[in-house]
Amino acid sequence: MPLHIDHISLASPHIFRSADTLAKETGLGYWTGEWLRDNSVNIVPLGPPGNFIEISGIIDIHSLRKMDERKQWLLDITETGDHFNGLCLGVDSMAELEAFAAHWKSEINRADNPDPAAHFQRANGYILPMASTPVTKRTVWMKGLPNVYYYPDRTHHSSGQPTHAVPNQVRPTGIKWVEVGGTPQEMADWLGGMKYVDLLPLKFNGKSLGVWAVCVGAEAHDDIVIRRPAASDAVPVSRFTD
């Protein structure tokens, strides 16, 4: 399978409350415990062929005594509540990932980086190997743009892990569409051609860049639409143009 949507990041001021609220709103279950230093994610699997929402946030407020641009961005976009802050695409081979890296004239964050502190790890210590591109001085998410991932081993992919048994739980059947800001042409310019945009179930609303809504199918249930403002609604991408 070529370029596809892998996951969507939802930045939150309180990842436990946000996951609980989303579960009560939608019946979508989630699992917990993955963390990297001062950040943690609660994962909402969206069904086959392997998509998920990661509800991410700062869980160590003591770390904020040393601020950097990324932390400030996370605080700024979550001060007024949850905001979608990342669209994460996927490819199925290292060759495809390298092609995107070449397009962006970038390096690759390698899956085999030996430093455990460089990876998210789960509550049992497991680290899901993943590679991504582009590598930039600040994440392209801050500009409302997607990055691309490749997993050398998908057997433990985040979308396939068991969730807590939430009340009135539904069984998701995958992403139907994702509403993003901007235009198809802007996305084509970023990805390197309209042929890539055509592969993705995206709806463009012409607003500021980033994710604005996710529609998920569910067994014996109406489609579930999760609508939150994009991070660019709270912090304009123009702040990060240098």
Binding site: I15, F16, R17, D20, W35, R37, N124, G125, V166, P167
Partner: protein, 232 residues
């Protein structure tokens, strides 16, 4: 009926690193317990076996709810000050609210007017009542004294009895073999109103508080040592 040990609180700045490091060094498993709403606390639990005992690890997880530093719990500030997770408190358990009320009255207080409520990841709330409480008085834990609790619903889904995250090499906990406390046995007996031996407490004469516990496991005894609420 004498109260028994229910849980031991560890206050810290990062609930993830604290639980993971504890698991790595002791092979005691843990799980996500959810969150409490009042001061935006994240929670992980480490079942310790025995008669239903667990470690409760907590930290602040919402930067905005506690942007005003005065809202941060005393144990969080102390953990920052000593640059370590701390043993913030010991909580004993009784079976009925009548017993809890009697214990509170003997210490010149009452039962805390609102229960402690935690939203678990699977939805239902865990609720227990605490004592002693007096509106103008500091939390007894802050001065190293144990408190008491009473769970609702006959200990339904008690934190000590929930499954832990499956991780390699975990041991099976079989109860708290001993607790190393500051102060003296006589003073503790006076505060508890029962023999501290009931809770396997031993005393060092240091400032009040809990300094270490020994946990029996199927692979031998595990010692956990942290700064206490009052001393290092």
């Amino acid at each position: 009926m004498a109260a028994i040990l229910d849980h031991i609180h560890i206050g810290c700045t990062n609930v993830y690193t604290t639980a993971f490091e504890l698991m790595k060094t002791t092979k005691l498993g843990h799980y996500d317990g959810g969150f409490t709403g009042n001061i935006a606390i994240g929670h992980k639990a480490v079942p310790l076996g025995g008669a239903g005992v667990y470690l409760e690890i907590e930290s602040i997880v919402d930067p905005f709810a506690t942007a005003d530093a005065s809202k941060r719990p005393w144990w969080y500030k102390r953990s920052v000050a000593v640059k370590s997770p701390i043993f913030s408190g010991v909580c004993l358990r009784v079976n009925t609210l009548e017993e809890l009320g009697e214990i509170a009255r003997r210490r010149g207080g009452g039962i805390r007017p609102k229960p402690s409520i935690r939203t678990r990841p699977d939805g239902p709330e865990a609720r227990f009542w605490e004592a002693p409480y007096a509106s103008a008085a500091a939390d007894p834990w802050e001065s190293g004294k144990p408190t008491w609790c009473c769970w609702e619903n006959r200990l339904y889904a008690h934190p000590s009895g929930q499954p832990v995250v499956n991780a390699p090499g975990l041991v099976a906990p079989m109860g708290v073999a001993w607790m190393e406390m500051g102060g003296t046995k006589a003073k503790m007996q006076e505060w508890l109103g029962q023999n501290p031996d009931d809770c396997n407490m031993k005393f060092t004469g240091k400032p009040l508080g809990l300094y270490a516990i020994g946990v029996s496991t199927d692979a031998g005894e595990v010692e956990i040592r942290r700064p206490s609420a009052t001393g290092v």
